[in-house]
Symmetry: C2
Subunit: 196 residues, 2 copies
């Protein structure tokens, strides 16, 4: 089949919004597919993303990408890591603040693993942004743990930034730009001739 | 093939020890297979156990059982639930105590979902034991969150009990006894003629 679109498998509208804006300057049109990803319990985002992408590809047979992201807090041995979405839904960022208490070590990194499948290509792209967990939530933009994450060298949380400010420095921004450059370099996009 | 053994897929030696003791009076011999379970991220223990059991069966082709258990804390909206093992490894029971703080609602339930596969049989057994999260850890028996879980009607934590005291009332005890009774009733065990 022939398509000029790339599908993003996610039920998270914010994730889709961020990713679309990042890819726009590259001429890559992203379409959201709100499929439930089949996620394995693994301690690596890469494994989870690749597994989910393969399962989704078996179903859709369209060029697609899966974004698995997580927040890794150093003093909590990487918690919530790959389970960030579940942890956010249950204990929220308030839970992270409670767990850290007055801990002096507030270092944390956000990571994204993108698994791209567009046969014969199957490729992973990684983005990481480190910073600290704030003492209290600030801002209402973004989603998930954004109100308590202050990226290094910035005086505000992800949630206090506009989407494009966040995209310029975020883990997701880095991963999607790596992917976009790779696709453009390989002349896969922009194009009307994606065979899948 | 013919076998009189049932295989338990787990890397957790305590889990194997508990399960073996529970099954012994039924004449069911359990053997540990320390395979990595392929666990999906799902909010149901049943789904996780069944998925892992099917994957393991495809590999082993032997009658087997997978135990997926979790601690569901009411005030934390069910956290850590199906991710109990990862949460234990990262933030420990200290994390659960920190998250609850002085919360008056300390109710929690431990649940086990057992997925049994011994073709043509594929069956789930559920065990649940509710109680409260203690204010501080007590005891050194058991594993995981046992030091902070006081089952209803008992004045001590799982970790303050012997393995057989714990088995008599635990979520795992209930699930494994349901399975054992079912197997014995169906005359699958004890026997030397398990066809799989």
């Amino acid at each position: 089949m022939v398509s000029s679109k790339l599908f993003l498998i996610t039920k998270n509208n914010y994730k889709y919004l961020e990713a679309s804006l990042i890819l726009r300057p590259y001429g890559i049109r992203l379409e959201q597919v709100p499929l439930s990803k089949e996620e394995i319990q693994a301690e690596s985002l890469e494994k989870i993303a690749l597994h989910a992408a393969r399962k989704a590809y078996a179903l859709l047979k369209r060029p697609l990408v899966v974004d698995d992201s997580g927040l890794f807090v150093e003093a909590l041995r990487g918690f919530p890591g790959p389970y960030s979405s579940y942890v956010y839904k249950t204990i929220g960022y308030e839970g992270i603040l409670a767990l850290l208490g007055n801990s002096g070590n507030r270092r944390a990194c956000f990571r994204t693993a993108l698994a791209l499948i567009s046969p014969p290509v199957e490729k992973l792209f990684i983005g990481e942004t480190c910073g600290i967990i704030s003492r209290e939530p600030m801002g209402s933009g973004g989603f998930g743990f954004d109100p308590v994450f202050i990226p290094e060298g910035h005086g505000k949380t992800y949630a206090q930034m506009t989407t494009s400010e966040k995209n310029a420095i975020s883990h997701r921004g880095k991963a999607f730009r790596l992917m976009a450059s790779w696709l453009v370099r390989r002349r896969v996009y922009p194009s009307n001739r994606i065979h899948s």
